[in-house]
Amino acid sequence: MRVDRITVLNVVTAIAILAALYLALIQAPDPANVDSEAQRYAQRIIYFHISNAWVGFFAFLVTFLGSVLYLWKGERRWDILALSSVEVGVAFMTATIITGSIWAKPAWNTWWTWDPRLTTSTITWLIYVSYLMLRSALDDPARRARFAAVYGVAGFVSVPITFFAIRWWRTIHPVLFDASNMGLSPNMRFPFFFSLGAFTLLYFTILIQRVRVEQLADRVAQLKASISASIR
């Protein structure tokens, strides 16, 4: 029996995500210095919340690189990569913002506050949702790709600002890492880093499928053009 590489990747990703879920919910220790039972449970949200944010930022970095390569080389494949990565990134950023808000309720006693990290995350999310909306508003494929590439490069400015917001400004958002300190106890690190790895794998698995959809759409468009040309 022949098993293709994509099937293997799908299975490995599913196992990795289930293992990450087990580590986050069962194996990870209870955090110290929490006041209530609700906060104790809510702390386990951070494993998937931060992994979602990591994938969102990484996806937008891939879009930035794809956009630069498209502007440089003018090859459609880089435009496909940039577009596909935005779609995956927006989904993961949406999950980041919602799971963060759910975590905030027991931790900060509010669903939302205009903290620098929350504000910059929302702006980043809006920038990339606009990328998708603006793309769908342009008909000419070459103009759309060029415009999206410029937008993909300019829009990326929001990602480092969001990442460093908790280091540059006064904020109530926790800082897990800085140059000298790690905000996780040693036995929380393995579930945390495993989750980051599993989510990175999930990102690539979904991205490959999304790229295939765009390539398929191109083949359909080419065939339609050939058929109408032969009718004329």
Partner: protein, 46 residues
């Protein structure tokens, strides 16, 4: 406990939503491609 369940449910709903949306588009395009290939082949024969 409720917050934990809600947060993980959000993650699963968004992830599966994205995967199903991509699969549905892929399936639809695959069907369209098959139909167009058939038309193209018939045109070639005519």
């Amino acid at each position: 406990m409720g917050y934990l369940v809600a947060a993980y449910a959000v993650f699963w709903v968004i992830t599966f939503g994205l995967i199903f949306s991509i699969s549905a588009r892929q399936r639809k395009l695959q069907q369209e491609l098959e139909a167009l290939r058939e038309i193209y082949t018939r045109q070639g024969r005519a």
